[in-house]
Subunit: 157 residues, 2 copies
């Protein structure tokens, strides 16, 4: 079972896929600005621990962070990634990181694909699904699919 | 009991202080480059959970991260901070962040103090201590002292 994650502090997308043709469930973990940063990170950590246990997750696929225009935001997202990796470690789940470029190429075959093209290909792969209307959840599905495609290719070689 | 942390991926300083006149113990958590990032973050997470339990830590003081010249390094340290905050949350420990400026002023009364001046004031406060030879451990002591000074001042007001 693969857990895909689109890391974010206010909205953190997640998706559970047993294989590259099936979306079990996906959603969005949210934290509120009113709460302090450490608590928000702690809540995300706990919710990822809970997801790993509930869905018997074996592998976690996460979109990696590159140098961003907005450094302040990037430093917050990096802290979210640290908390999520700690949750994976605590749950005995192995983490795989994929760059935005790797995800675009894996899903669409095109490194400059935009969000709409990725969303269209995800729908083509998994069928129309009401759960995919949330952008963060859809990005989490794309990360999980990238991992499943990459692993499948590895197995075929 | 206060746990001070100087966050870092290869070397993460830590210090346990019951009050602003006593250093119980300090040290440095290390991870190796040979290991993958998620595992290294997981190891730091676990070691901080263990420290919190072993020393019955109630509060964690950590030096906060500001916009850095080397963004790549800053993004790694931010992930370390996320993993450590997850460990604190898991351990029921409240986290307090202090900026480098706050630490300098709390320890030396001077916002442009260098590392040597901070080290000298820490030694003056706690006495000569062989454990303070490690820079990361000394920075962790400074973070914990800043927290203890700040709390004491709050109590006096």
């Amino acid at each position: 079972m693969v857990l895909g994650i689109d890391p974010g502090l206010a909205s953190c997308g997640w998706a559970i896929l047993p294989d590259s043709k099936t979306l079990s469930v996906c959603g969005c973990l949210v934290t509120t600005r009113a709460d302090d940063l450490s608590n928000r990170l702690g809540q995300l950590y706990q919710q990822v621990v809970d997801l790993c246990q509930k869905y018997r997750v074996e592998e976690l696929a996460i979109e990696s962070l590159f140098f961003a225009k907005n450094t302040k935001t990037a430093l917050l997202v990096a802290q979210v990634m640290g908390a999520i990796k700690a949750a994976a470690y605590h749950s005995g789940v192995r983490v795989f990181e994929y760059t935005p470029l790797q995800i675009k190429i894996a899903i669409t075959g095109y490194g400059r694909a935009d969000k709409n093209q990725i969303a269209a290909m995800v729908k083509q792969e998994l069928g129309e699904n009401d759960q995919l209307v949330n952008n963060h959840a859809a990005d989490a599905v794309a990360a999980a699919l990238t991992h499943l495609f990459t692993m499948r290719k590895d197995q075929l070689v």
